[in-house]
């Protein structure tokens, strides 16, 4: 399993638009991806789940990836986060 932390800097937090982009991105990757905020875990492929975390600007979230390509996909996902929110 591969993990990394990310802090949201988008002023509106991980609201509908960025959340939908994340869900789409997660759908393109082969790893099982879990988003964790303050101990609550959701599947990164589920928009309701991601939106229901109510992630706001400045919140620190954790991504957990599991799968044969977890190393490289964690890098991809991290870069995606940096460019998106």
């Amino acid at each position: 399993m591969k993990e990394f932390h990310y802090t949201i800097r988008d002023e509106l937090g991980l609201h509908a638009r960025p959340a939908s982009l994340l869900v789409k991105k997660a759908g393109e990757l082969s790893s099982r991806i879990v988003v964790v905020k303050k101990g609550r875990k959701v599947d990164a492929r589920r928009l309701f789940g991601v939106m229901s975390l109510g992630i706001r600007c400045g919140d620190a979230i954790k991504f957990k990836l599991e799968g044969p390509k977890e190393e490289e996909e964690a890098e991809l996902l991290k870069r995606f986060c940096e460019n998106t929110f």
Partner: protein, 552 residues
């Protein structure tokens, strides 16, 4: 005449007859079925049809409001494809034997409730999106057509309990002059769409809406969030003027691209944009900003999950300088504190972070951290017109220490044979101490940039995020303006330039005062650049005015 007060969600004036539309979705009664398999198939069919309709809307919205705002209809499709949503409906059909319509309604309401219970105002508004998607499915299952706003006849102002985003996007701008609703908030998608489409609207009127009668002549004032029903002729005339003026104003702003920001008596003012990320340069350029007046560098520390290397920082600064192509870029050095933490820099919690270990105070203690940034800046200075400024200064000693460190970095680069460039060195005036001592600071630096947000907070001893005292926060308070005046005067006497980069730099009621004080640069959010240019063009500093400060 009746006057109703709500929230102005989209600016502009609309004058016309009000027309109530009954777009409220009829609730379906609880109904059970025997053949659950058939019911699931019915749901699937309706769901796929709804996705198809949303795709059509999405394509249409792309043309009317552009890709940014139209994405909401793509999100609606994603929500309808989401497993959580689909499973919930399936379960209600399979286990409770609910009809497809009732199961879809229940699921929509359940999710809507989940969102409306959230702390975040933006996410709370997402409950409207939930209602929007499930009512579409419910209507399809009931064989009902959606309320068709595109069939509205004549020129009218729409009144409704609420407008769904999918209804707002279909409003025909030639026929719908504006809309008013009893519900809604500024951050709902309907409001965002209304602003992009340029449709004036007043929302959040609550029960007051019942005081209007279909066909009433109303004036909708989207600037002030006011509705006036059956206005007297005089008022109506005033509003017709206001409407025409605003229309001209919008058109005029677009013609100001490429025009110098010069007062009527020929004083050149620089209107810059504030940015928080290299990608924000796009909007500065799109709005014809003459430079970047505040480049916040905290993103570097937030984004890379640790302390960014000299090379990483150098590349970020260089990319902004290159894209600004010779126009001035003012970088604010690291401005972190216990309330603005970054991963990788451990700052213990403080009782009073606003008065604590922050900004330049950290940089002067953590010299390695600061030097990395300074070296990256010196190297990037070769690629454009760079100015750097230190935040939270209160003493001459701090300025000298910071300058000394710049000098040390320069010597290091020299010895290492690494090329570097020249840059202007300035300070932010955001503490009363800095303003009061500005005559001593001015000979030490190349410029001042007044950060009115912090200056106001520290002068008035008011935390504006604190709901109980937030209303005392006022950048127009004479005490704050006196300090701005003192700093601008010191700058003028020592022949350095002075700008304003806080939010009040975009307060058009203060522009003339600032310019009369001697401020020559205003740095604002990129979307306000043209409005500020328009304001500067209207000012004449040569005419004798009652001296503003005499009243302060």
């Amino acid at each position: 005449m009746k006057r109703l007060t709500g929230i102005g969600a989209s600016r502009g004036v609309a004058i016309g007859k009000v027309h109530f539309i009954d777009n409220v979705v009829k609730r379906v009664e609880c109904d059970t079925v025997v053949d659950t398999v058939l019911e699931m198939e019915r749901f699937e069919e309706a769901r796929l049809k709804a996705i198809e309709m949303l795709e059509e809307l999405h394509q249409k919205a792309k043309n009317t409001v552009g890709p940014e705002e139209s994405i909401i209809f793509e999100i609606h499709q994603l929500l309808l494809r989401d497993n959580d949503y689909v499973n919930s409906v399936h379960e209600l059909i399979a286990k409770s034997h609910y009809s497809a319509a009732y199961a879809a309604q229940q699921t929509g309401e359940r999710f809507a409730q989940m969102f409306s219970a959230m702390e975040d105002a933006y996410l709370r508004e997402r409950s409207a999106d939930m209602i929007d998607i499930s009512s579409r499915v419910v209507r399809l299952l009931q064989g009902e057509a959606a309320y068709d706003v595109s069939q509205i006849k004549g020129q009218i102002i729409i009144a409704a309990k609420d407008l769904l985003p999918s209804e707002t996007i279909q409003l025909d701008r030639d026929r719908v002059l504006g809309f008013v609703t009893s519900g809604g908030s500024q951050v709902s998608h309907s409001s965002i769409l209304a602003r992009t489409m340029g449709i004036p609207s007043v929302i959040g009127l609550g029960d007051q809406l019942a005081e209007l009668v279909d066909g009433d002549m109303i004036v909708l004032d989207g600037f002030n969030g006011v509705l006036i029903a059956n206005p007297p002729d005089k008022l109506l005339k005033d509003y017709h003027c206001k409407q025409a003026e605003y229309q001209l104003y919008r058109e005029r702003l677009q013609t100001l691209k490429g025009v110098p920001s010069r007062t009527q008596d020929g004083v050149e003012i620089e209107i810059y944009g504030n940015i928080g990320h290299p990608s924000d340069v796009d909007s500065v350029l799109a709005n014809d900003g003459q430079g970047v007046g505040l480049f916040r560098t905290e993103f570097l520390y937030m984004e890379y999950g640790g302390i960014p290397s000299e090379q990483t920082q150098f590349e970020a600064y260089r990319s902004v300088l290159e894209r600004m192509n010779g126009r001035r870029v003012v970088v604010r050095t690291l401005d972190l504190g216990a309330d603005k933490a970054a991963p990788g820099i451990s700052l213990p919690a403080e009782e009073n972070p606003a008065l604590g270990y922050r900004a330049l105070r950290i940089c002067l203690k953590e010299q390695a951290l600061f030097k990395t940034q300074l070296r990256a800046l010196l190297r990037a200075a070769l690629y454009g017109h760079l100015a750097i400024m230190f935040p939270m200064v209160i003493s001459l000693d701090e300025i000298r220490q910071a300058k000394e460190l710049v000098e040390v970095c320069r010597e290091e680069l020299e010895q290492e044979g690494i090329p570097y460039g020249d840059m202007e060195l300035g300070i932010m005036i955001e503490t009363p101490a800095a303003a009061l001592l500005s005559d001593l600071f001015a000979p030490e630096v190349d410029f001042f940039s007044i950060g009115t947000n912090d200056l106001t907070q520290y002068t008035l001893a008011v935390d504006r995020m604190n709901m109980k005292v937030g209303d005392l926060y006022d950048p127009r308070n004479p005490a704050v303006l006196r300090l701005v005046q003192i700093a601008a005067e010191s700058a003028r006497r020592h022949g350095i330039w002075c700008g304003v980069c806080g939010e009040s730099a975009a307060d058009r009621r203060l522009t003339e005062h600032y310019l009369r004080m001697g401020v020559t640069e205003l740095s604002v959010t990129p979307a306000s650049i043209l409005e500020m240019r328009e304001k500067v063009l209207s000012i004449n500093l040569s005419t004798e005015k009652e001296h503003f400060m005499s009243r302060v």
